[in-house]
């Protein structure tokens, strides 16, 4: 699990709007929105190579346990991947 990675695929455009995020899947033409928490998750994934590293950073930032954060982050990644907004690799 330490090597699980998530990245935004080339067909997804990401734009920050204030503290939220708008994602556009250029293959389907469907827009998606992320609230503040989802935007923080996505930023952490962009800033760190693995989910494990991203969840450690988020856990520090939010003052919660690493295990709980990892679970939440992994669930977020799976839901995003189901919508074609993230690609998962490694793991």
């Amino acid at each position: 699990m330490d090597n699980l990675r998530a990245a935004t695929p080339a067909h997804v455009a990401v734009r920050r709007v204030a503290s939220e995020t708008v994602l556009l899947n250029l293959e389907t033409g469907v827009y998606h929105g992320l609230d503040v928490l989802g935007s923080d998750f996505l930023s952490a994934l962009e800033d760190h190579r693995t989910l494990a590293a991203a969840s450690r950073a988020l856990a520090r930032s939010y003052g919660v346990s690493c295990d709980r954060t990892y679970e939440d982050l992994e669930r977020f990644c799976r839901q995003m991947a189901d919508r074609g907004l993230l690609e998962l690799s490694g793991g």
Partner: protein, 319 residues
């Protein structure tokens, strides 16, 4: 041949087009994309369509009893058939529009040209048309958005009566620029409720605007535009009528403004990645750079009060 600037386009044509042909010869600093308008024939449209295989029907529906069908040829051109107004062909790059109107007065069928066909040409040139009326105030554009009947036009004209410059009625072509999102002026045309026009005409320059005729219960006017150049947008006002509301309020738009802006865009059937990215950048750019306001309009409030509230809010923004 006349030349005009509207929707960010350098439009050329050789047939009578009130509200277009009298506009300024394009010039100045701003780049405009060339679009040639001409009158064609059914035979020409048939000939152009002949041999085109793989046409896609994008829209086929009746709206208020009028059938409209839009198809895209395999080569990329769009064919728009409107039972009421005629047939129009927009080239894939937006550079040529062939009009085959029914036998109607020019100002009458050109409402469809200005309201639907030219926005598609602008879109194919890389601009993003928005359903909005717009005025220029203090060198910046204010856009009024809202559903049909929300009062976009009347509010904009009341703002003009208070000294704002007229930019566009119903369609604004937007583009991301270096200083923000630019709002390109539309045609010098507006449609307004006759009663509202009477109230405005007695005490403003709107009284000198030429009346072209009556159409669908509204007066079609040849307007006087603020100028040909695009203006940076700094205010978006989404008008929402609510009969249960007690007072007129102007508040920051709740939620993510991008959703409201996407709802104001045109031509959802054009969904190639290039267009979608322009749409995304215009909507997020406006959300970031312009104040976005939700204007709750109660039953008792007319466009005059709405215009006053917007002016007060815009003045507070400038401070």
């Amino acid at each position: 041949m006349w030349h005009a600037s509207a929707f960010g386009l350098h439009i050329s044509g050789s047939f009578p087009a009130p509200g277009l042909e009298e506009l300024e010869e394009p010039g100045g600093q701003q780049r405009r994309r060339p679009t040639v308008l001409r009158i064609g024939s059914d035979k020409e449209i048939d000939r152009l369509a002949a041999g085109a295989t793989g046409d896609r029907t994008l829209i086929d529906r009746s709206l208020a009893g009028t059938r409209m069908r839009i198809t895209q040829e395999a080569r990329g051109a769009y064919l728009i058939l409107n039972e009421h107004y005629g047939c129009f062909r927009v080239s894939a790059d937006g550079g040529e529009v062939i009009c085959v109107p029914h036998e109607l007065p020019a100002w009458y069928w050109q409402r469809f040209l200005v309201g639907q066909v030219l926005p598609l040409a602008a879109l194919r040139h890389g601009l993003e048309p928005l359903h909005a009326s717009a005025v220029e105030l203090g060198g910046r554009a204010l856009l009024c958005l809202g559903t049909s009947g929300a009062g976009k036009t009347c509010t904009a004209l009341h703002l003009v009566a208070r000294g704002a410059g007229f930019l566009a009625d119903d369609v604004v072509a937007a583009e991301v620029g270096s200083e923000g999102v630019l709002a390109h002026p539309g045609a010098a045309l507006a449609s307004v409720d006759p009663g509202e026009l009477e109230r405005l005409a007695t005490r403003s320059e709107l009284g000198s605007w030429t009346r072209l005729g009556m159409m669908q219960g509204e007066v079609r006017l040849r307007a006087r535009r603020a100028g040909p150049d695009a203006v940076v947008t700094n205010g978006l006002y989404v008008l929402v009528r609510d009969d249960d509301a007690r007072e007129l309020t102007v508040q920051p738009l709740p939620g993510n403004p991008v959703a409201s802006l996407l709802g104001a865009t045109f031509n959802a059937y054009v969904d190639d990645p290039q267009r979608l990215l322009v749409q995304l950048d215009v909507c997020t750019g406006l959300s970031e750079a312009a104040a976005t306001r939700h204007v709750m309009v109660p039953r008792h409030a007319g466009p005059s009060e709405v215009a006053d509230a917007i002016l007060a809010d815009a003045a507070a923004l400038r401070r």
